[in-house]
């Protein structure tokens, strides 16, 4: 029904001659342009220029702040994208909903560089839909100038609930990552489907809310670098970028565990330029490009040759490439079932409407 309404609306637009149909057709015929949809602050922008110069394919690059935002934009049909870079749980959800195209790996010869341990992971077991882009864990970033050494000595997740730092703590502005932190604190799996676990986690977050300065995504960079806040949980690569900008920042993977994520490049089934999209993915996997990109974003890369070429300062950093015993404590998100998603949504809105 929704689709019918939307198509009706589109039909109305077309009748009035308001649509940009001429534009679309241009794309289809010439393969001159692809739409890439990626996380914010997650690429070396100069790489895009190189791709355009080398292939003559125009890249329309747009960003999103969370997997959920990306997903809803795509299912609403409001915009058409070719390449997206979701996290593992979102990939499995999108595969199950038949939104992703099977890749033609003959167009992506550079896939050979992807390390074995990053292939055929549970979200794409048959290596059909995705090419790993980066991976990493969630870490806790703190400012050594303001946070006492004894409070971080045990490298615990509890730092995020420490009342001493009320008003100086930043949390994710998306429910999946935020709830995961509360699940870890309670010693539960972040993929739990037991409603009681979720309600308990929500209680923890409600207790924490008065201590939280703000729920943010990309704004976290400014706030941590300018010492506006002292403590935050965020993705490792971005944490490294912040630490580069402000020497007083440090980070750790909580000893209780953390979320480990794999973000992979996928092509949408609705893509009109699949070949160009695959060219783009292949280009991103060229060793020289992958190195440059990794040096800009500071996330761990699954690209074996590029990893070898990295500056040891990066490739031996235990926050970027944590040792196995740390990774063993980490957990990867699994796509939650619909009931749990609904519960999560209700609890999250409840948290935000508790005044």
């Amino acid at each position: 029904m929704k689709k019918k309404i939307i198509s009706l609306l589109i039909a109305v637009f077309m009748l009035l001659g308001l649509c940009a149909c001429s534009d679309n057709q241009g794309n289809q015929n010439s393969n001159r342009s692809i739409n890439v949809y990626n996380w914010g602050e997650y690429i070396d922008q100069s790489v895009l220029d190189d791709f355009e110069a080398q292939t003559g394919i125009n890249v329309n690059y747009t960003t999103y702040a969370s997997n959920e935002e990306m997903y809803s934009k795509i299912v609403s049909g409001a915009a058409s994208y070719d390449v997206i870079i979701p996290s593992e749980y979102m990939i499995s959800k999108m595969i199950s909903e038949d939104l992703l195209a099977e890749l033609d790996f003959s167009n992506i010869p550079n896939y050979k560089y992807i390390g074995d341990e990053y292939r055929g992971l549970s979200y794409d077991p048959d290596e059909k839909y995705s090419v790993p882009y980066t991976w990493g864990t969630v870490v806790i970033v703190y400012n050594t100038k303001f946070v006492d050494a004894e409070d971080v000595a045990d490298e615990s997740i509890d730092l995020l609930w420490n009342e001493k730092y009320a008003g100086n703590i930043l949390m994710f502005d998306n429910p999946r990552d935020t709830f995961a932190l509360a699940h870890i604190k309670l010693g539960n799996s972040m993929n739990t489907t037991n409603p009681d676990d979720w309600i308990a986690a929500a209680e923890e977050l409600k207790k924490q809310k008065p201590l939280v300065q703000a729920y943010v995504m990309d704004q976290i960079f400014d706030k941590m670098i300018n010492e506006e806040a002292y403590i935050a949980a965020y993705y490792a690569g971005d944490a490294m970028t912040m630490m580069e900008e402000n020497e007083d920042l440090a980070a750790y993977v909580p000893r209780e565990g953390a979320n480990m994520f794999f973000d992979s490049m996928c092509v949408l089934k609705s893509s009109q330029n699949k070949e160009a999209a695959e060219k783009f993915i292949n280009f991103m996997c060229e060793t020289e490009i992958a190195v440059r990109n990794a040096e800009a974003v500071w996330y761990a890369i699954p690209h074996t040759a590029a990893y070898e070429a990295l500056d040891p300062e990066q490739s031996e950093d235990p926050l970027v490439y944590p040792p196995q015993e740390v990774l063993d404590k980490c957990e990867v998100f699994i796509n939650l079932n619909q009931e749990t998603l609904i519960l999560q949504s209700e609890l999250w809105i409840n948290l935000k409407t508790q005044y």
Binding site: K2, S72, D173, K209, E228, L341, I342, S345, I349, T353
Partner: protein
């Protein structure tokens, strides 16, 4: 000019506007109503409306903040508009330009820049800290951001021009001879203002209030940037249901909540129009 030609011309001139309104106002509004009264399968239901009750505290908070912002805008805008309308033509031109100038910049950029001003290490607090340091005292800084005051400030800053300009326009339209007549008939300055200027500027006040109140009550980005994303306003809630930031996309609940907003705005506009009409008739009578 014959009658027929006039009608023909009218049709021609009205068509672009009318089709614009149908496609971009009426059709979307009809879609909102449709989604509000259907469930995911597309069958009729009033289930979605129960969420309005669930989120009543969010509604009240949004109403309250929008109301405060509108009142502050009115109190700030009227004196500005009044002194502008009394000033020389050159000053009027420049003042209008200065008021419009920030609007040439993107709304988001303007709101982000307030973050830099209000933060604990922002412009205001750093300046105060420097002064305190020179005086040899210690100053922790004021909490200026991530609270409701900052949200209201964001609304006032962003929407103030929409209050000033209509009031200013209505004030400049007042015929000077009316004021002279009032004075000749023995009114003092206060009475001239109260009985002539104020009633005649009511249409400007009304459109100003509408133009500030409506974007204030439906804003979502100001609360996120300046409010720290801690307290949802009704706009945040609607965005969340449409974009599925919380993990679930639900157009139906989102539409039901949007419908409340539409109804609230329609009611407000209706009352405003009535006040407007009353003011016009009674004001005219008095003069």
């Amino acid at each position: 000019m014959s009658k027929n030609v006039t009608i023909g011309n009218k049709k021609v001139t009205v068509t672009p506007f009318a089709s614009w309104m149908v496609v971009f106002v009426l059709v979307p509004m009809a879609l909102v109503v449709y989604y509000a009264f259907t469930n995911a399968d597309g069958s009729f239901t009033v289930e979605n409306l129960k969420w309005i009750y669930t989120y009543r505290s969010t509604m009240f908070l949004s109403l309250r903040l929008a109301f405060i912002a509108t009142v502050i805008c009115l109190l700030l805008a009227y004196p500005i508009a009044y002194s502008m309308s009394r000033a020389s033509e050159k000053i009027q031109r420049n003042a209008t330009l200065i008021i419009m100038l920030p609007m040439w910049m993107n709304f988001l950029v303007r709101t982000y820049s307030w973050m830099t001003i209000l933060e604990n290490n922002g412009l205001i607090n750093s300046a105060l800290r420097t002064i305190a340091g020179m005086l040899g005292t210690d100053f922790d800084g004021f909490q200026l951001i991530n609270n409701r005051g900052a949200i209201v400030l964001g609304m006032v800053y962003n929407f103030l021009p929409y209050m000033i300009l209509p009031i200013y326009t209505s004030l400049t339209k007042i015929d000077n001879s009316l004021l002279e007549a009032a004075r000749d008939l023995g009114s003092n300055g206060f009475h001239v203002f109260k009985r002539v200027i104020l009633p005649l500027s009511v249409p400007g006040i009304i459109s100003g209030i509408t133009m500030v109140f409506i974007p204030s009550i439906s804003t979502f980005i100001i609360s996120r940037i300046l409010g720290g994303g801690k307290d949802y306003l009704i706009g945040d809630l609607i965005e969340d249901y449409f974009l599925g930031n919380s993990g679930v996309v639900n157009y139906n609940v989102g539409a039901a909540l949007s419908m409340v907003l539409m109804v609230l705005i329609l009611i407000a506009t209706f009352f405003m129009n009535r006040v407007d009409k009353d003011a016009k008739t009674s004001g005219g009578g008095r003069i």
